[in-house]
Symmetry: C2
Subunit: 322 residues, 2 copies
């Protein structure tokens, strides 16, 4: 992200966030320390801190007071990631779990809880109960979203609405909250806060739809995981939902996608059918619509250079070159 010009206005602050992130999770317990730092390194783009800082910078050049919040948002995100890992692991290695995996799972659960609690201690000094309520509410919805994703695995009858609700909770919500809180804590008016909250929401939706497209079309070296990993895990995303509805072989496809065993056995065939449908194009259109909705929110904001950055970042999302 360091090379990505659009984040230039907050490059300095992001460096501080990065440094303090590492400090914030330092404990005298070596195992916890290792797990948390491993998590940190795996984290990557620091999108949530970046959006909180950029949103704040629209209203004042000085965004120093947003830094603890930016760190807290990244810690919360990390907490959900580490808990996701526990779960994925236990599914993937079912029946051949090693002792090491067992220990790893334990540490992961507590490391997740630990970073979440740590994020709270960073938020407390703001003395803003409205902020705590927003984050508590988001956390509850994110948990619900995780369970919804779990329940909907291999459910070939789910529709667009189920998908959108799921990605809202999985991704859009915390990005939306990041923008909202950045604005709230740096002097934005109510309507400006709502605009940035909505911006984050639509941007998060576009981001996740794009991510789901990439799972079908991107190179494995770009993704960092094999193509079609959603399919194998039973996560039915937008391109698949489209193909399940409109492809001539949709009934056969539904059969292939209805269980873990079949999804693994017919993964290549499933991917071929989905690529042969208009699912990718349709999903790209959906993503672009979200980007436009995100950009529309920015109109009522002060006409400062950072606003243009947010506009361009939204456009960039569908390209995902960073």
């Amino acid at each position: 992200m360091a090379d990505f010009d659009l984040f230039n206005p907050i490059n300095h602050e992001i460096k501080i966030v990065e440094k303090r992130l590492l400090q914030s999770i330092t404990t005298d317990l070596p195992m916890m320390d290792d797990a948390a730092k491993h998590l940190l390194r795996a984290g990557g783009k620091r999108l949530r801190p970046a959006f909180a800082l950029l949103s704040a910078k629209i209203f004042s050049e000085n965004v120093d007071k947003i830094i603890p919040m930016a760190i807290a948002l990244e810690l919360m995100h990390m907490g959900t990631l580490v808990h996701d890992d526990v779960i994925d692991n236990s599914t993937l290695r079912r029946g051949r779990e090693t002792v090491k995996t067992g220990w790893g799972n334990r540490v992961s659960i507590y490391a997740g809880n630990y970073v979440f609690a740590r994020s709270l201690s960073l938020i407390a000094p703001y003395q803003r109960s409205d902020v705590i309520e927003i984050l508590a509410d988001a956390s509850m919805h994110i948990c619900e979203g995780e369970i919804r994703q779990m329940i909907s695995c291999f459910d070939v009858k789910q529709g667009l609405k189920d998908y959108l609700r799921r990605i809202e909770r999985k991704t859009a919500l915390l990005i939306s909250v990041s923008c909202q809180l950045g604005a709230m804590l740096n002097g934005a008016s109510n309507s400006e806060i709502i605009a940035l909250k909505q911006y984050g929401y639509y941007l998060g939706m576009a981001f996740q739809v794009t991510d789901d497209i990439l799972d079908f079309v991107a190179d494995e070296t770009v993704l960092g995981k094999p193509v079609g990993s959603d399919i194998r895990q039973g996560v039915i995303t937008l391109p698949a939902i489209y193909a399940l509805r409109f492809h001539p072989r949709r009934e056969e496809l539904a059969g292939f996608m209805s269980s873990s065993e079949l999804s693994h056995r017919y993964a290549d065939e499933i991917i071929d059918i989905i690529l042969d449908s208009n699912g990718i194009d349709y999903s790209t259109e959906v993503s672009c619509k979200f980007v436009k909705q995100a950009q529309n929110q920015l109109q009522i904001l002060p006409n400062v250079p950072v606003r243009d950055c947010l506009f361009e970042i939204a456009a960039f999302i569908t390209g995902r070159e960073y």
Copy 2:
């Protein structure tokens, strides 16, 4: 607990807590709802809400404003319980995890996170950043404690200090915080808050030592789990630490207790050696000392009937007849 006179002063409030606990975790997601309600029913004694309410009642008859906090404390406790379950299960059933267990683990992790987030939303309206900081800090220490317990499994070289630090985080901390917050939110002075915080700490320590004794001597029907379950799980508690240090067969004992396999194979022999040492008597003495320290803290508090209840509850702990 309803029949237990010592909790009489807050019986009415505890009933409200019980009712609202159920309401507070109601969601429109059936699976989450089931998991959370299962947790609630398994919960039992509501000690943390009771201590928060009793501590508060020393300073004013009206403890209505403590009720949301009491619910939040129980939710936090439930959150740690459900995460513990995930972990124990995955160890116990290693290698023969069923799909159902897999689903159960997932739901458990998210249900734990959900109730934790829910507790936050109950605490936010107090608009007290000091309260949030206390709870965040306690949560972090509890996570550290869980990891310490994990690391120390089958470690026959651990000493009294390791054990005390572990049970402090596992049990004493949240009971201490419950007393502290009950006092803080109902008009106690600083020295009174500290006294109740300390009371809760020593009481929690006595409580856990007693619990650890019961794992050796209580009837299975009382415990709700087989005698010696700590031993089998590698959790080395005070009676064992004593026997490992002083019993003539201590080297043999250390051998038996040094791995999961041996602990299971020699469980009866391990228990016999520990019972043959002075470990139970020694542990009972330690517990009694903690009870006295707890009671000593109460001296500076207003001389009201609720104070006498707290005094007697501490005495009762070592008997554990409720």
